[in-house]
């Protein structure tokens, strides 16, 4: 297992040699890096070679392999992010980082499936965040290394072109599946929901969760033609009878509360790709998996990467590991 977490000086040195890097770390350490060919996002949690770790000093480093022909870094705003697929390379991939709770995050979450060329090119990435004790006190940021600029809103993207004969394969590992309970639909798209239809019957969703004493650590799960797509529950606003979510539900999509899982690490390793993990080039996993499954100090089958406030595999995901593999035809 190669190391993936480095100190400031080592990362700075690699930047100055021209390496093309995707970085994750605390804002204080990312802000000290020199300008160069890198993008980054704030987060102090990682899956390192020795397991889950929280550090405000270390930086998680993903270096584009030599097989990547060209790489360009760019930024988007909430009103331009819709171009992210149209701008993607014909053969390659894009890595995107968006700050949590920013207008661009909210816009991407709701609208990505309507973007021109949606899902026609691998788009992987994550939502940057902060230490959980600093939620509401500090803002998540993304960094555009070419200028050193830190953004509280917008997206940074690295677009990578691969040579003919190779391709990027984007996939997810989600240990959650739909339980055998009620079918839940919602009358409109959104991160905050009141009304829901439970088996077709109009019900307040906050009341429903309370009445059924649902375990809110388990997500809602939709079946997208075989891909299990989670929506995680953030909190219940009892006074206003609303449920706050970490990703938007979509009108008419059928959700079910997830089936319980046993030990996360055991379940996770059982879901690892059959052809091994050595060819995985980039991956990220969810802060909720890290916290609820107590991953600090535990390894997830040798998988490394930043721990995130949301994962992106074509669209926004929750409680899921997204990973990208570069393969030969």
């Amino acid at each position: 297992m190669n190391p993936v977490l480095y100190g400031l000086d080592e990362v700075a040195q690699r930047i100055t040699t021209g390496a093309r890097l995707v970085l994750a770390g605390d804002e204080a350490v990312l802000s000290k890096l020199p300008k160069g060919r890198w993008i980054g996002g704030t987060i102090p949690y990682f899956m390192g070679a020795d397991g889950g770790v929280m550090s405000k000093d270390l930086i998680h480093v993903t270096e584009l392999p030599a097989s990547v022909e060209t790489a360009s870094c760019t930024t988007y705003r909430a009103d331009t992010i819709a171009r992210v697929y149209a701008d993607a390379p014909a053969n390659g991939f894009s890595i995107i980082i968006i700050p949590a709770a920013s207008p661009t995050h909210l816009s991407f979450a709701i609208n990505a499936p309507t973007y021109e060329g949606f899902a026609t090119s691998p788009l992987i990435g994550w939502i940057s965040g902060v230490h959980v004790d600093e939620i509401g006190k500090r803002r998540a940021k993304v960094f555009f290394g070419e200028t050193g600029e830190a953004l509280e809103d917008g997206a940074v993207v690295m677009q990578a072109t691969l040579p003919a004969g190779t391709y990027a394969d984007l996939n997810i590992i989600n240990i959650f599946s739909q339980g055998d309970g009620d079918t839940i639909t919602f009358p409109e798209d959104g991160f905050i929901v009141g009304d829901a239809f439970i088996n077709g019957e109009n019900t307040n969703f906050a009341d429903y969760i309370a009445a059924r004493t649902l375990d809110t650590r388990l997500p809602l799960v939709a079946n997208y033609c075989g891909a299990m797509i989670n929506i995680s529950i953030q909190r219940i606003d009892t006074a206003n009878r609303r449920v706050h979510l970490y990703a938007p539900v979509f009108r008419d999509v059928q959700y079910r509360h997830a089936a319980p899982v046993g030990d996360y690490v055991r379940e996770f390793t059982g879901h690892l790709p059959h052809d091994g993990i050595d060819s995985i080039f980039f991956s990220c996993n969810c802060i909720l998996n890290y916290l609820y499954s107590e991953l600090e100090g535990r390894k997830t089958g040798g998988i490394t990467g930043p721990i995130t406030f949301g994962e992106i595999a074509y669209q926004l995901l929750n409680q899921t590991m997204a990973y990208l593999t570069i393969r030969s035809l």
Binding site: P113, G117, F118, A119, T120, G226, A227, D252, Y314, L329
Partner: protein, 82 residues
């Protein structure tokens, strides 16, 4: 990989049916689910045609990928078009 013509009824059938396929390609799973939802919400001929076109575009752009090839083959066979 032979990709059915844009005029083939295969594309409209794929986005309007509720047939389930054992798909491998994540992009195909997500996009097909999205297109079927869009058709459910707007079943006008224009909407169906737009979704059918979008599905075909994904295959055109992904036709060199083994998972996309396998998915199209499976969809054609199970859709009764082999």
């Amino acid at each position: 990989m032979h990709i059915p013509d844009a005029s083939s009824p295969f594309w409209i059938s794929a986005v309007t049916s509720e047939r389930t396929y054992e798909l491998e390609f994540l992009a195909m799973k997500i996009l097909l689910a999205r297109l079927r939802l869009a058709v459910k919400q707007d079943a006008s001929p224009e909407s169906i045609q737009k979704c059918a076109h979008e599905l075909r575009e994904l295959f055109l752009k992904s036709q060199h990928l083994p998972k996309a090839q396998n998915d199209l083959k499976r969809m054609i066979q199970e859709g009764g078009m082999s």
